[in-house]
Amino acid sequence: MNKMRNKKGILFTVTTIFLLLAVFLLTSAYLTRNKELQRMATLSLAGDRLSYIEDDIADNIYPELLSLNLESIARASDVTIIFNHSNLISSRDHRQLMLDYETFIEETYSTLNNIDIDLEGFNNSFSISPYDSTFIIDSDAIYVYTGNPTNISGITLTIDVSELNTSDGSPGSTGSVNVEVNINHAGGEFSESADLDPAVANGPFYVEFEDGTEVEVNFGSYNGQEGVLRIRASGVRANIPHLELRYDSLPEGVVIKGGNISLASVLENITKDSEIIIAEE
């Protein structure tokens, strides 16, 4: 009888120890899982934070600082890209505006977010691929360089100024790229077009105003490079409500790119490098 009781006692003790051990292991597993979930949540938040910062830095910053908006990219027989620009004036230093923003982001903003930020190639220019065009806005002038100018099929410009005109002029046709320039001024409208050769240093489309200021548009060879479009507002404020570039249709989609962003979070040991895509087809 006693032996039976002893056996039952041992069985009871062993069962209890196993149950307690099971509870202990369960809590231990729960703790491990909880820590893993916390780690994943932290990493997920870190990823979200980098995406947020990237969006904050890059989204719409080129249009804001360069006063340039993309209106449309359309594909038919040609690819047509239309921009508008306001405030083409010598007192607005686009290069400095971009530099100031870059400095703010790499120093103050970087410190506030406890993250290393590097902006590369972030300046007053951007590229249009696949046409290898570089668009530069520099105070009172806009330059569009194109690596292969034979891809350019036409250019149409509308420029608004509020001064009164005194004289104007336009180049004679030399080639096959149709350039149409409309300049609205206090005395009326200047509207001319010419078929120009991108390899030739063509004369300008220009309107001069009473105080000696002028608006000038050139297309052709410039500083040894062919197919350069130049728009300059010398001494006047010009708005360009319509800047249309037409290219031969290529199979690749149009991508308008700025500089690059590099983000590195030392705390979470995560890095993110990306291009600033201003727009894409």
Partner: protein, 141 residues
């Protein structure tokens, strides 16, 4: 007498055994509690509130509220946004120039700032392309 002594010895042995069992059981239960006490939900709460801050600043920037507030020198629309946040959620927003000079600030009505808060930052441009940033601190009521 001999039988009494025998019983007494057995009782002592039984008591030691029971005490040992209780101690072991107690230690194991204590270990379980210690493990469970190490888990926390605070991190999720802080993450939630941080994400709400990021979303709030994104909305205020994208709908041009921050830009308009600087250009009109009025934090009224930011104040309205904060006041419309859920009741349990508190926050304040300060707008500074790129040189950290305070321009505007607003805090949700009925909230007092707590030490345990999260903070988020958003940069934007206003006026003649001048750079500003908005900082949002958020905490649970």
């Amino acid at each position: 007498m001999r039988r009494y002594n025998m019983l007494k010895r057995k009782a002592i042995i039984f008591s030691l055994d029971a005490i040992f069992a209780v101690v072991v059981a107690g230690l194991m239960i204590l270990a379980c509690f210690l493990h469970l006490s190490q888990t926390t939900t605070n991190i999720h709460q802080n993450q939630d509130i941080y994400k709400i801050s990021l979303d709030s600043l994104t909305i205020l920037e994208k709908d041009r509220t921050l830009k308009t507030a600087v250009e009109t020198n009025s934090a009224a629309t930011i104040q309205s946004f904060l006041d419309a946040l859920p009741e349990q959620f508190c926050g304040n927003i300060t707008v500074r120039t790129s040189a950290a000079v305070l321009v505007l600030s607003a805090q949700k009505a009925g909230c007092t700032e707590k030490n345990e808060s999260t903070s988020a930052v958003r940069a934007f441009t206003a006026g003649n392309s001048a750079v500003y940033y908005a900082g949002m601190k958020a905490w649970y009521k």
